[in-house]
Symmetry: C2
Subunit: 240 residues, 2 copies
Amino acid sequence: MPSLPIHPAGLSQPKFSQLNGFASDFLSHPQPFRPYKVPESDDDVKDDPKVELESKDLWDSFHKFGTEMVITKSGRRMFPPFKVKVSGLDKKAKYILLMDIIAVDDCRYKFHNSKWMVAGKADPEMPKRMYIHPDSPSTGEQWMQKIVSFHKLKLTNNISDKHGFTILNSMHKYQPRFHLVRTDDVLKLPYSPFKSFIFKEMEFIAVTAYQNEKITQLKIDNNPFAKGFRDTGGGKREKK
Amino acid sequence: MPSLPIHPAGLSQPKFSQLNGFASDFLSHPQPFRPYKVPESDDDVKDDPKVELESKDLWDSFHKFGTEMVITKSGRRMFPPFKVKVSGLDKKAKYILLMDIIAVDDCRYKFHNSKWMVAGKADPEMPKRMYIHPDSPSTGEQWMQKIVSFHKLKLTNNISDKHGFTILNSMHKYQPRFHLVRTDDVLKLPYSPFKSFIFKEMEFIAVTAYQNEKITQLKIDNNPFAKGFRDTGGGKREKK
DNA sequence: ATCTTTCCCACCTAGGTGTGAACC
DNA sequence: ATGGTTCACACCTAGGTGGGAAAG
């Protein structure tokens, strides 16, 4: 066997990526997590995680009118993007950061007379996937160093989706959640201490086309990719 | 501590990513690897890795004229991109795949009278970084499933580069190498069995501007991002 | 003078937006 | 008739090309 002199001049941390950062199926059934802190253990006095939602003001301005998120067959990102600042982690410990999206209630909605109203019982929900942040696992120090972004998560209404996108029902209400798990390996996820966070202002209704024009305008005004639809300056379209 | 019901409906494999897939500095000094196969051990009869260079014909057509790779301050990809098909791995074992680029000789070159000639002794080399494939570590099965691409590697001549790009000397000759390490953790890299591969047709001279117009033409004809410079059809430029 | 490097540019690829008509 | 969904599209962001003038 030839033996070349290799000099690894610097090596990075284990991360998640590919498959759009999404999940495969070897742990495809709901599993309970162990509580985050077990008083008897020595391991858990080392951190006290705090999580702050980025662009809270922007989320609030959407939430005020009733946030809508478009879902498409080919997959659509959320806007605003879900980003958090994390602090209070154990710098040396490894963490996996995840998010998922759960149904808020058992209702189907409709937008009638400029208002969202209950329109019956919810359709059956598809099993929800966990979106593991592609940098996972990383040390507490690395997570706290920069803003953690989940903007690559995609939503779809295609129940046959093979990309690993999050499948939602149109005209149903959802709540994103954020999970912080202290572990160095995905395989240990189900048995590792964790903490979960919910930001009420991130609640939204999934739609295939925007219902509330105030929401449409907020998207256009704030999403750089929709700049082409702005009245002012940059865009080429004029309001009539 | 609130304990939300989490259902991880599928979890993916540990990967590398971010920092452009590049290295940080906690293992920043050359280290010897253990030989790939140790006869006394049980662990090593499980695989017999084979590696095949993708687009070998394209590499050959460049190599025939003397491949040149542009290096810039802001970082430049290689073209053709380095891609391999891997086979003969242990499906269940985990591997980390890496590449690096080493100086071929101790010479500085110049392009004179349409030929590359030695023009003196080489300039001092910067320490070379290992580029760890962002999907690392993954199982043999996953690596063999699809073509493994290192196209995101970037070359630079900026000795102060902070991105983790590979720093090369202009007008010097280089040889990319490919390394296959059987391990599930970067931290174990220096002590894990490995195998290295070299493709002679990937040898190149680093330049800040193309010297051989035949190389320029091959790049334009084959790199999709240079389509704008093609004479034929798609492009808008006309040769004069 | 000659050779090499730098910078901005037009021109691409790749892919994220809401639109509005068509479809169901 | 109504309401929800789909699709091609123009218009963006983001970033990978070599050219050519200017600089070193």
